[in-house]
Structure formats: structure tokens, C-alpha cells
Amino acid sequence: MNKVWLVTRREYLENVKSKLFLFSLALMPMAIGLMIVVSTLFIKRSAPREATVAILDGSGQLFAALEEQAARHNARPEARPRWRLEEAKLEGRTWDEAESDLARRARSREILGYLAIQPDVLDGKGGALYASSNLALQEAPESLGRWLNAAVMEARLRRQNLDPHLAEAIRRPVAFEIEALGRKSGEGKGKGVEAVVAPLFASMAMVMLLFMGAILVGQACLNSVIDEKSSRIVEVVLASVSPHQFMVGKILGMGLMGLTLLATWVASAYGAAAWKGYAKYVPLEMLGYLLVFFVLGFLLCAATFCAVGSMCNSLKEAQNLMGPLSLLFAVPLVLLTPIARDPSGLLARIMSFVPFWTPFVMMSRLAGSPRPSHWEALLSIAVLAAGTAAVFWVAGRIFRVGILMYGQPARLREVFRWIRQI
């Protein structure tokens, strides 16, 4: 046991000191920082402070209403851009002449765009057109479309000589809310789209972290095994410790490194969320699951990669085996959308009991709604633990023989023989 610890300690300390690790460690905080900076900069920069849209109102009855809506919008402090609506008149020109003049002004960026409302729009026949050379600014057509529809409806109601109060009562929209239900009553998570989407997003981020962490560390295991094998260090080490102790020590050391990495990533992501005021949406109970699934999933992943590494003489050889292996681990990522859409469906349920997929699938399911019950989660953890133990056993047998094999890469039949022999 003491020797396992020695291997673990060396593996951890040497890896944690490596430049690659420090880089990976800094990667996540850097990415988050960059994202915050870029998003704040871009949101502020990309939208102009003020934008002018010309309105060619064929009906002659809508401009005032639109302007009123724009004024209401502009009054909001966070409004960006503020809209300036300019009324375009025919002034003796034909409709087409007027429109092509507006198009010219829009092309020369004198105005952002123009809205041409056909004269018979109130009769329900003509339509409206928004044209701009910058359609990236989606707020313009979105807001104008909404305002126009409201204005048209109001004008039509007025035509029917409806009492304005009655009209207002008819037009009043229904307050429509969304709420994510907790497991028990009184455990609600708040209302609004943010309250629903943010925890889902946070959980998905955790799944991605889990996947990245496991693959990154698994890859590190593979590299380190191949490095030790090709530089013949294994022989010196194996003269002191058993192959099993060596493999276990290595995996534990790498696992601690992975935990360090994951903890730093999660902490920096949480820190960023707290700073931006989203901390309340991070489902903290998920962190417990994250830890359990990371530990088990990582052990499984690492044992697999160690076994594969021990069979290869060089990284190049390993790459051939890495293809199918990555595919195996990536299956849940490909199926993430159907799983997220139906977290208690048959596909999701079956996949959460396949040890290689359990961590990712179960984490996604726990993030979604309806959430699987705790006993189902615990059962999947038990299956995963059993699967991990089995994979460890097989990997240990492959490792023991493979690590000393040089020359021709092993054939599958040979590998099965290694597993069977005592």
C-alpha cells in the first residue's frame, strides 16, 4: 500500500508541476474571463447607440402609433439602440420612386433601414416591408414588426368605433409564466425563463466539464504509460512494485490531478457565475453527483486508457486504438439532445446503466426535468462502480503483460489470452 502511495505521489507531483497541466488549469478561468470580456464588449459595441429607421406609411394612420411605441422603448434606461423614426412622404413621387430613394439612403448608411407599409394594410390586404443592408441588428425588424401589428390592430379596432377601454381590455395580453417544479412542494426554483434555463445550462456545463476532465486525464494516463514503456522506465519500477500496484498508483495520482483540475475549473466557473449574479441558479446538489460521477467515471476511463497504453509501443500506435475508444466514450455526447429532451425515456434510462456512459448520461438526466429519482441515481452509481471494478480487473491483466511487450502491437486474440491467463 505504501508503494502505491509512493507511485501516486510522484505521479501527482510531477504532473502538477508540468507546464501542460498549469496551462490546462488556467485554460478554463481564461476561457470564462475571455467570454465575459468579449460578450460585454461586443454587446455594447455591436449595437449602435442610436438608429434611424424611415417609415413610409401608405395608410397615413400608423406613424404616430409607431413613434409612440418607440418613445416608450427609448425611455427604458437599458434601451440600446434608441430608435429614431423618420416619416417618409411620397411628396408627389410614385411609391416605387420613394422606396428606391429610401433604399439608396439605407445603402449609404444614412439610415439603418426603412419600413414600407402599404396603403391598404388596415383592410387586411397589403403588407409591410422592412429593408436594411444590416439585418444583423435583429432588434429592428423584431420591434418594428411587433409595434406595427399592435398599431394596426388598434387602428382596426378604432375603425369599428369600439370603446377605447374595451379595446384595451380585449388587447391586454395574458401574463404567461414558466416555473420549474422542485421534487417537493415549496421547493420551487423561481419563475421566469432564466430560472428554468440557467440551472439546465449550469448542469450541461458540468457534464461538459466532466467529459473534458475525464478525457483529458485519460489521455494523460495513456501518454504517461506509453512514455514509461518506450523509455523503459517500467522495468526499473516493476523490479520494485507489482504491475498492479504500479497501475493503481498511477491512476490514483492522475485522478488526484484530475480532481485538482476539475475543482479549479468548477470554482472559477462558479466564481464567475457569482460575480455576474447567477450563483443562485447553480444547482449545488449537482456538485455532489459531479464528484461521485467524476471519480468513478474517471477511474473507468483511466483504467481503459492505461490498458490501451500498455499494449502500444508508441503514441502513433495508440492513436489507431484511440479512434474507436473515443467513439465509445463520445456516444452519450452525440445523443445528448434526445436524452435532454426526454430524460426519463427508454433510451436515456438504458444508457444510464451502461458503465462507460453512466456518468455523462446520468448527469444530463439529473440536470433535466423530470429528474430521475434518487434511488435510480444510486442504482446507476452502484452499476457504474461494479463496472469500474470489472474494467479495473481486466485492465490490470492486460497491463501486467502488455507493459513488458515490445515489438509487434498485440492482436486482439493475444490480448484475450493475457486476460485469461493466471
Binding site: K3, L6, V7, R10, E14, S18, E228, S231, R232, I233, V234, E235, V236, V237, L238, A239, S240, V241, S242, L404
Partner: protein
Amino acid sequence: MAEASTNRDALRLEGVTKRFGAKVAVDGLSFRVPRGSVFGFIGPNGAGKTTTIRMALDILRPDEGQIAILGQPLSARLKDRIGYMPEERGLYKKMRVGDTLRYFGALKGASPRALAGCIPRWLERFDMRDWEGRRIEELSKGMQQKVQFVACVVHEPDLLILDEAFAGLDPINTAAVKDALLDLKREGRTIVFSTHVMEMAEKLCDEILMIDRGRKALEGPLEAILAQHGENIAVLEYEGDGSVIRAIPGVESVNDYGNYVEVKMADGADPQALLRALIDQARIRRFETRRSSLTEIFLRLAGRGGDE
């Protein structure tokens, strides 16, 4: 009595066989290494030396036969009393010299205290005091070899197994390692020394075991082997007609090297007779007799004849 003799052996193999698939790497091999001896384990490449050593270290398991270390069957605890330097050297390139030595020492169960006393002494001995904090990758190949050697002795093993210990060492370091080995021998430690370079085996070893194709080819004290398998050889340098040498009675074969000839005498023939017969026919500048070297015996027994 049998118990006592077993205990006197640092390493004992009995009927050990190891197969890799259809290939038999070691075939029913038995031998004993007496404690305190320098034991030469020789044989051509591919003879099964490394496989045998790996079995002695419990890195590989024999298919048949028994192995005892220091009088006891192999166990994890006994492994700590062996020091091993494999033929293919390997150190962690990014690790520092001091950390490397402490790590390998600790893996062998040495206490940090003992290592703190031992490591500086060994570094001193090999003129590497200043290198303790350097990374392995900064060291020259010869330096790395020395670190590797120190790594396998820092835990003060009772049995030292060295596979091609001198490969890649320059003459100065070869001498340093050789002296260190002799000191270890004087301390009563057993050294198993595997090599295909016979000159070194001839200089250092008390006992020799030669294997070929997984089987024992030759075994015994070095002196006895040289006496038994050595041949009568005369080395001659002369001016004049040498063609007559072949005709002289007792001459078995002649090997002409240009500057001198080596004359192999038949068993029991007296080289003095050769000198006497030749003295009238040619001007002799040098005449000496010698026994065959271990290399020659080795080549003859391994059936590869001629030159190397």
C-alpha cells in the same frame, strides 16, 4: 546441511521454464549463485538472459520451476533486497537527480533518513554532487547511466542484478563503476552480472554461467572453466618463411593476423616444441603462450565460430 547450503545461495533456480506462445525462452534452467560472489551470467543476445533475470525479480512468472532469493521463495518483501539495473535504461526525464534517487530508493523500502545519508555519498563517489538539483534530461548519456547505477544501489541491496552494466560508459566511468562493484562485493553483497562482453566478465567474475537458447551451456568457477575449456595457444611474430609452421607436429591450426600469427596447439602438445622447430627457420621477434579467452570459449560453445 541442505538447509544451510540453500541459505548460502543468494539466488537459486530449479528447473525454470518460460514460454512465450510457442517459443521457449528459458528451458529447464537450474543454477545457484553463492552469496558474496560476483556471478557472470553470459550468453549471446536472445539466449534468455533478460527473461531469466525478469523471473528472478518477479516481473515475469515462470511456467515451471522454482526460484528462491536469499534462501526464501520470492515475495514482495524480498524484492526490496534486490537492486536491479536493466539493460534498457530508463529514468524520468523531467525529474531531478535527487528526486529520482529518493523515489527509486523509497520504492525499494528505504527510509528517507537512510537515503539522506546514502545519496550524497554515492553522488560524491561519482563526482555528481553538483548535479543533484538538475533534471535528468540535462545530463549526458554517461551521467544518466551513473544515476541509473546509483538508483539501483541506494537502498543497499543484498543482491545486485546488473544487465549489461557497462554498456555506454566511457573508460573512466567504467573504472568507477567497476571499483564500486568490487567495494560492494567486499561488503559481502552478491552481484549477478549479465553481459555479452566477455572481457569484463573475465576481469570481474568468480563464477560463470553461460546460457544459449534458453539452456545451460557452461557453468562453474571462472578459473576452472578457463583451465578446462582453454586451449593451448602460441602467439608468434617473426621474419622469414612462416609456411613451415603448419607442418610442425602438434600444430592444430594457424590464424594469420598479418602482424602476427596465432598458433593453436593440439591438446597435450608442448608449445616449446614449436619454438624449437621454428628457431632455425625464421627470425623470431616475439613468442608467448596463452590460454583461450572467455570470448573464444564462448564463441566456440555458442557455435558461432570465427570473428566478432
